[in-house]
């Protein structure tokens, strides 16, 4: 399988000259579930935003992002989405006056074969109960995230970045998330999953470990998890309180 996404020597500095990404290299192969694991503050969300073109991160300080053979640096979020690259945010927005059905139809506007009811069922929501509900504060955090996953299924992009999609969601088990991701892959969507929870990496085909603005390891998920547990959980930079406690 060839790379659908190639990230080359990606660097990002803030206006205050703080280096967030220090030369990230990453390949995501077409059809894989790739998990990026790393502690809070490692730069995972900045990387996700730079790839998607969201959060004001349209252009890196240095480096290239190649999606489906095209350099997408500087392209706005909606243009990347039209190329088949989308992102599900950690906290997807809520909307007054827009129903779940309308939101899913908007998501499916370039995928006329989408079956929005089937997409809802796949994320564990009964269409009769949800289609006419508003996408507002009346939904729980978990319901909102499930609807976001359904919207990605309706959109059927080539690549979906799922940023901390498991946080706040009431999935019964890791298997349920795993099965959902596999369904999305079977339907033609490659997944790049961003998480700080090592158990989520178990459902990946490949995983990358991100630390302090770089990718330090890519490959077999179990090996990446072991490295994460061995080095990141007791890292003085990201877990100072824990390390202090251990030393005492």
């Amino acid at each position: 399988m060839g790379a659908l996404l190639e990230v080359r020597n990606l660097k990002y500095k803030t206006e205050e000259d703080k280096e967030i990404l220090k030369g990230v290299n990453l390949d995501v192969k077409k059809g894989e579930i790739h998990v990026i694991l790393g502690p809070n503050g490692a730069g995972k969300s900045t990387l996700a935003n730079l790839i998607a073109g969201s959060g004001g991160y349209e252009k890196p300080s240095e480096g290239e992002i190649i999606f489906d053979g095209k350099n997408i640096n500087g392209k706005p979020l909606h243009e990347r989405a039209r190329l088949g690259l989308t992102i599900a945010f950690q906290e997807p927005a809520r909307f007054e006056g827009i129903t779940v059905e309308e939101y899913l139809k908007l998501s499916a506007r370039n995928n006329p074969s989408a079956d929005i009811e089937a997409c809802l069922r796949k994320v564990g929501l009964e269409p009769k109960e949800y289609l006419k509900r508003f996408l507002d504060d009346s939904l729980s955090g978990g319901e909102r995230k499930r609807i976001e996953l359904a919207s990605i299924m309706c959109m059927k992009p080539k690549l979906a970045i799922l940023d901390e999609i498991d946080s706040g969601i009431d999935f019964v088990s890791i298997d349920e998330i795993g099965n959902l991701f596999k369904t999305m892959r079977e339907e033609g969507t490659t997944l790049l999953v961003i998480t700080h929870r090592e158990n989520l990496a178990l459902i990946a085909d490949r995983a990358s470990l991100m630390c302090n603005g770089t990718i330090v390891e890519t490959g077999d998920p179990e090996r990446v998890i072991r490295k994460f547990e061995k080095e990141c959980l007791i890292c003085e930079v990201h877990n100072p309180e824990l390390v202090k406690g251990l030393k005492q």
Partner: protein, 313 residues
């Protein structure tokens, strides 16, 4: 029902259909053109007196206790003598336990000029329930100078809902003032959804007086202000009775340049068990909302329209 309908009614109904309201002419209960009553349908359980005045009409409607009308009553107010000053005075008395849902439409067509004042008083008896929808269609080329005052007095356990909607094209110079006096366990919910375009000057003022124990009030406004518009919201809540509650929620959204927005909440509690809260926001559309939609392939402009239409719905 075979009704010989005036051409102006048909014109009004045609206008309603164009803007997506599917009332038939025969479904209307009342149609007035300034001070000329074109049509009035008798409804069982409702006594209505309408008197033409120099500038409009004076109307008193009484719904007898216990009467429950299970279909919406539609009242339509037009003014085909463009530019005239126009005053409507209405009093609605709803007896104990009675229930009614009323739609009023104000239709202002292309090039029309309207200088109108609506003074409405609603009195709800014990456990009466009233839903009042006030829906305006002002053509973008019309010239509007409108003042609407709604005073609602709710007895014990009464429920009142009011929606003012001016979202189709423009608001014009539009000032609306709601005053609600809520008796024990009464509930009042007042919503305003307004769209202000260039040259419009919108003022929404809601006053809730919670005078009865356990009364509940909610004032909710959504105002979208486009290039060159002015909009002001003033929400006042007075918690005077034990365990009374009121929430004021106003969001004013800017889209464009040279927009002036004001948002003034006033909460006054004279009873230490009353709870009054407010939530106010002024500014551009939330970036996260735009990005969530843009990640589906919508341009920023398209995403903005989706958010705005949702808020004004």
């Amino acid at each position: 029902m075979n009704v010989n309908l005036d051409g102006r009614i048909l014109q009004g109904v045609d206008f309603l259909h164009k803007v997506g309201v599917n009332f038939k002419a025969e479904d209307l209960a009342f149609f007035v053109d300034k001070n000329e009553i074109l049509y009035k349908k008798p409804i069982e359980g409702i006594k209505s007196e309408v008197v033409p005045t120099e500038l409009g009409i004076k109307m008193k409607t009484v719904i007898e206790p216990g009467v429950k009308i299970d279909y919406p009553i539609a009242l339509c107010f037009g003014n085909f003598n463009y530019g005239d000053r126009h005053v409507n005075e209405q009093e609605l008395i709803v007896g104990e336990g009675a229930q009614v849902k009323i739609y009023t439409f104000a239709l202002i067509g292309p090039g029309q000029s309207l200088n109108r004042k609506d003074l409405v008083t609603v009195r709800l008896g014990k456990k009466a329930k009233v839903e009042l929808y006030d829906i305006h269609y002002h053509d973008i080329t019309s010239d509007i100078n409108f003042y609407a005052e709604l005073n609602a007095y709710l007895e014990e356990g009464a429920y009142f809902y009011n929606l003012l909607k001016v979202t189709d094209q423009k608001s014009g110079k539009f000032k609306t003032k709601f005053y609600g006096e809520l008796g024990p366990k009464a509930v009042a919910i007042v919503e305003a959804k307004m769209k202000a375009t260039a040259g419009d000057d919108v003022v929404v003022e809601d006053i809730m007086r919670l005078v009865g124990e356990g009364s509940r009030g909610l004032s909710k406004s959504r105002i979208i202000a486009l290039d060159g518009a002015k909009a002001e919201f003033k929400g006042e809540a007075y918690g005077e009775a034990p365990n009374s509650r009121c929430h004021i929620d106003c969001a004013e959204v800017v889209k464009g340049e040279n927009v002036v927005l004001k948002n003034i909440p006033i909460l006054v509690s004279t009873n230490d068990t009353a709870k009054l809260t407010h939530e106010a926001s002024i500014g551009k559309i939330d970036r996260k909302q735009l990005e969530t939609l843009m990640a589906k392939g919508l341009t920023e402009e398209e995403a903005t329209d989706v958010v705005v239409q949702g808020m004004l719905r």
